[in-house]
């Protein structure tokens, strides 16, 4: 069975420790700190007169540079543009009124309802849940979290569109 786990490349500290361990074995020493210091001094002594060693160290130095992973932020739901599917020209909703999922369904249609609801915080979504429960008594969300509230509203409202 082949392993699908991809191993991470060793860090500079891990490679350094492994190299010292290997040198201890070759030379038969036991004090890794003293050997590490001796290796550094020896390499430095040879460095001025050995261009190939110089080049080898330069290559290793580049290899050991910390790898930077580009941060890729997923777009926030507020960055995704909502496109209304219906004009309600002249009909305005009071912006301080409780959340009305039926208004959002009418305005954005079933495909964008979830996205529109996701603009609200959980406390405000609970206002929307109340509006839905008023029309569908006996139903309730499966949890108190934002996602559970959205799922509840969408589950109740979307069949109305079918």
């Amino acid at each position: 069975m082949s392993s699908a786990v991809k191993s991470k490349p060793a860090t500079a500290a891990q490679r350094s420790a492994a190299a010292v361990e290997q040198a201890l074995g070759i030379l038969g020493f036991e004090d890794s700190k003293r050997l590490s210091a001796a290796l550094t001094i020896a390499a430095t002594d040879r460095l001025l007169n050995d261009p190939s060693l110089k080049e080898y160290i330069r290559t290793l130095y580049e290899e050991l540079a910390p790898k930077r992973v580009a941060a890729t932020k997923p777009p926030k739901s507020t960055d995704v543009e909502l496109k209304p599917v219906k004009s309600m020209e002249g009909r305005f909703r009071d912006p301080s009124a409780p959340v009305d999922p039926y208004f959002l369904l009418e305005l954005y249609g079933p495909d964008q309802l979830k996205l529109a609801l996701s603009r609200y915080t959980a406390p405000r979504l609970r206002e929307g849940v109340k509006a839905v429960q008023a029309r569908h008594p006996g139903t309730k969300p499966e949890g108190a979290g934002k996602q559970a509230l959205i799922d509840y509203i969408v589950t109740i409202l979307l069949p109305l569109q079918l």
Partner: protein, 466 residues
């Protein structure tokens, strides 16, 4: 008889008045529709006499000034038709009835439309018969409803205002408008104060003129004169050639004898005569001072002044002192939706609404949007709300909630909240302070802060929609 209906019918009529549509009007029976038309004219300031039972004279309503029995201002015939068009013969009959009953003109109102010969017959009556088709009647209802709801100065409903005649719409429709390709007329408006209307108007103008080399006329329609104080005017020269002001003095302050928008409204100057040059080559200003507020508040400005303003703004003879026209005319409006603001909205092709991401500002934007819709009813064109721009933006949870409501509100009117948000940026404030002392260095460019960069992005966004 005056118009009196039972409470249920009154509620029904009020609903149609608040949310008028052809379907809603056709949902009324003929008798209710007559009462509804009477209700509309009553709301427009007429004393309405219902002629019942309907005589052979083809008149359903008599519109009086002040009270029943007062001067007859007009007579009305009502035709509630679903699709059938009213023919020439009916117009001639109504004309005959009017001639038989006196000098007052008449309105023939229908929910459908008139045939071409019917319109020609009305034209031949030399103003005696005015035809109001379904589309125009809907606009009239919305204009009356919006204006009455707003009241004078945007403060409270005021039913003592002069009557609003349907002829107003015809006059507004007849005003030739500049094409958008020639000159874009943009109003920066919001009922709420302190939402950066002036900053937005000024910075849009600066981006357009300094970056895109457009010719821009800024019009200060706010009696507070904030824009007037911010736009750097040219430094006046003394006859000897010595400068009147040093760099650190305040050359932006208007001199006592300088003309402003108020002089235009008082008929003392033409609109062209009140245009001032600024320290920028392609930017001009029509200044304002607090006399404009006084004029706005004392109620002496009439609808004729408003239509006159629309006409003059759209007159191609309105050019800069160098004899060339403008690419943009931008109005900075006052927070209260008084006369000057409504005139600016009526004259504009487009409206941009700055708003803070807070719930009170969203409510202010709602009021501003409703006023823009009301003013659009006058001529049936213009006052298109391009979108809201969030200003002084800082990402917080309450701000995000207010932004969501703002987005839903503007989307419901097929408008938008611009993607560009103008961040809270004290460089803008420092720029204003610098400008009011006479410098221009901090106004734009040299210390380009995040807000100034946002305005550059906003202009690009606006250009996609105009």
């Amino acid at each position: 008889m005056t118009v009196s209906v039972d409470a249920i019918t009154a509620k029904k009529l009020a609903d149609v008045f608040d949310h008028p549509s052809k379907e809603a009007m056709l949902g009324l029976d003929w008798s209710e529709f007559e009462d509804f038309v009477a209700h509309v004219f009553e709301s427009a300031g007429y004393a309405v006499e219902k002629v019942s039972p309907r005589p052979k004279h083809n008149v359903d309503l008599i519109l009086h000034a002040g009270h029943i029995g007062g001067k007859v201002l007009a007579r009305v015939e009502i035709r509630r038709y679903e699709t059938a068009h009213i023919i020439k013969g009916r117009v001639l009959q109504f004309y005959g009835a009017l001639m038989a009953q006196g000098n007052a003109p008449g309105y023939l109102i229908t929910t459908s439309d008139f045939t071409k010969p019917a319109y020609e017959a009305a034209t031949m009556s030399h103003g005696k018969v005015t035809l109001i088709n379904g589309e125009r009647f809907l606009r009239y209802i919305r204009y009356v409803s919006g204006t009455r709801a707003l009241g004078a100065g945007g403060k409270a409903p005021n039913l003592t205002q002069p009557t609003i005649a349907p002829d107003l719409l015809l006059e507004a429709e007849a005003i030739p408008r500049r094409s958008v390709q020639q000159t874009k007329v943009l109003a920066v408006a919001n009922n709420k104060g302190g939402v950066a209307k002036t900053t937005t108007a000024l910075n849009l103008a600066l981006v357009l003129t300094l970056r895109l080399h457009q010719r821009v006329l800024l019009v200060d329609c706010d009696g507070q004169g904030s824009l007037t104080q911010l736009v750097p005017l040219p430094k006046p020269e003394l006859p000897s050639g010595r400068r009147r002001h040093t760099q650190t003095e305040a050359p932006t302050v208007l001199l006592r004898d300088e003309v402003t928008l108020c002089d235009y409204y008082l008929g003392r100057s033409s609109l062209t005569e009140v245009i001032r040059g600024t320290r920028f080559n392609n930017l001009w200003l029509i200044p304002a001072d607090n006399t404009l507020t006084q004029l706005d508040n004392n109620g002496s400005l009439l609808t004729e002044n408003m239509l006159g303003f629309v006409r003059d703004v759209h007159d191609t003879a309105l050019v800069a002192p160098d004899g060339h026209g403008f690419d943009w005319i931008i109005f900075d409006t006052a927070p209260a939706q008084g006369f000057c603001t409504r005139a600016a909205l009526a004259a504009s092709h487009f409206v941009v609404m700055p708003a803070l991401a807070e719930i009170l500002a969203v409510r202010g934007a709602l009021g501003g949007f409703q006023t823009a819709i009301t003013m659009r009813q006058l001529s049936g064109v213009g006052s298109k709300v391009l979108g809201a721009v969030v200003t002084r933006y800082r990402r917080t949870l309450p701000a995000e909630q207010a932004l969501a409501e703002l987005t839903f509100m503007f989307n419901s009117q097929l408008s938008r909240v611009f993607t560009t948000k103008v961040p809270d940026d004290n460089k803008i404030e420092r720029g204003h302070a610098s400008t009011s002392r006479g410098g221009i260095a901090n106004l734009f460019g040299l210390t380009l802060g995040p807000a100034a960069r946002a305005y550059e992005a906003l202009v690009k966004e606006i250009l996609q929609y105009v």
